[in-house]
């Protein structure tokens, strides 16, 4: 019994050397929004004059004709207000989220993760939350019908 167990225990012990962490994080503060038609379930391309976000003077998608928006959430707050200037309309969207920080390792550092994404208020007819976590690889967080 002992002769059988001892090599196994040693193998378990030395496999501990394979524990080094990987400096990989898929965290991002970019929210992806797909635009859909109101009447049918298909993508809609819209030409935006610009989109503004609270907490920054930068504007996004200025003069772009797009069907998918990539908008950053405010890293210093738990809610961001957006104003969409497009066609002859101005619409607004307020999203809330939780900021949670994960330390990968001292050598890799800490990365904020944005999760529990929710629509707090909007002037759009319909906004649907698809994925509540902001992460690289997530294809769609919100869906706006307009």
């Amino acid at each position: 019994m002992v002769r059988l167990l001892f090599p196994g225990m040693l193998a378990l012990l030395f496999s501990a050397c394979l524990d080094d962490p990987d400096c990989v994080s898929n965290s991002t503060n970019i929210m992806r929004i797909s635009l859909k038609r109101l009447d049918v379930d298909s993508a809609r391309t819209v030409k935006f004059f610009w989109i503004s976000a609270s907490g920054t003077d930068s504007v996004f998608h200025q003069g772009d004709s797009v069907s998918v928006l990539r908008l950053p959430v405010n890293t210093g707050a738990t809610a961001t207000t957006y104003k969409f200037y497009y066609e002859t309309k101005i619409d607004s969207l307020v999203v809330g989220y939780r900021r949670k920080t994960k330390v990968v390792s001292p050598e890799c550092g800490a990365f904020p993760q944005y999760e529990n994404l929710a629509v707090l208020s909007t002037s759009f007819v319909e906004v649907k939350v698809i994925t509540t976590q902001l992460a690289i690889g997530v294809s769609k967080n919100l869906e706006i019908k307009l």
């Binding site: 019994m1 002992v2 167990l5 001892f6 225990m9 378990l12 012990l13 496999s15 501990a16 524990d19 962490p21 503060n29 976000a53 907490g55 920054t56 930068s58 950053p72 405010n74 890293t75 210093g76 900021r99 949670k100 920080t101 994960k102 330390v103 990968v104 390792s105 001292p106 050598e107 890799c108 550092g109 800490a110 990365f111 904020p112 993760q113």
Partner: protein, 233 residues
């Protein structure tokens, strides 16, 4: 004639088998190790103490009760650490933990009660974490903030193996290798827990531990043997 003899022999054999009672032979009591507390062994992990630095420190005390082949084992410890992060800011963690379980001695015939054992532990930790984050964003600028888990807790299981060797009188030394699994954390609402005291890095599935320990064994009173009565000639 032969047929009659064969039949008679068969009948005799059958009657002998019917008369035979199968008895399951039990081991005599003297060969079974009775379960009662023989000694308590108290020790500490010198490896953890030796590896203490200004960045990370910890301590552990270990105790077990000798019940024969089985040992009730309890560990208690604490740790604190502060790391500077490559992305800026820092990570701090401090807390305490305990483990409890059973070790089984695989060396059954050793006169000194030396041990090569396997065992199981259930562990729990309570701790707090603080992360000072420095981040920069091309749109929202640079930002520094602090996040805390004031009262997080963790639970896990361990498979253990190791040695306990009698060095001198009641002085013992040994090691314990630990495979820690099924770690779960609660109360980590603001900071995704990086390290749970006693368990290690959270989120990697299995973690590993190693203790190099020194013990002092305190034997209990030996059970009284029945008096030997002289047989008159």
């Amino acid at each position: 004639m032969c047929l009659v003899v064969a039949c008679a022999q068969a009948q005799v054999t059958q009657s002998v088998e019917e008369d035979t009672v199968r008895v399951k032979v039990k081991k005599p009591d003297s060969l079974r190790e009775k379960i009662y507390p023989r000694a308590v062994r108290i020790g500490t992990d010198v490896l953890v103490l030796a590896l203490n630095t200004s960045r990370a420190s910890g301590w552990e005390v270990h105790g077990d009760v000798d019940l024969g082949r089985h040992y009730l084992a309890v560990d208690y410890g604490g740790s604190s650490r502060k790391d500077l992060l490559a992305t800026g800011g820092s990570y701090e963690n401090s807390g305490s933990f305990w483990r409890a379980g059973v070790d089984i001695n695989l060396l059954r015939k050793d006169p000194d009660r030396n041990m090569f054992f396997i065992g199981f532990r259930y562990g729990r930790a309570s701790f707090n974490e603080t992360v000072n984050v420095v981040s920069s964003d091309p749109f929202f600028g640079s930002l520094s903030y602090q996040l805390r888990n004031p009262s997080a807790s963790a639970a896990w299981g361990e498979l253990t193996t190791g040695l306990r060797v009698k060095v001198w009188k009641e002085f013992w030394m040994g090691y314990t290798a630990r495979m820690k699994f099924a770690g779960s954390v609660s109360g980590d609402d603001n900071v995704g827990t990086y390290i749970a005291p006693g368990f290690g890095i959270v989120g990697q599935g299995i973690t590993w531990g190693f203790n190099y320990q020194l013990f002092w064994r305190i034997p209990f009173a030996k059970p009284k043997k029945p008096p030997i009565t002289a047989v008159p000639k």
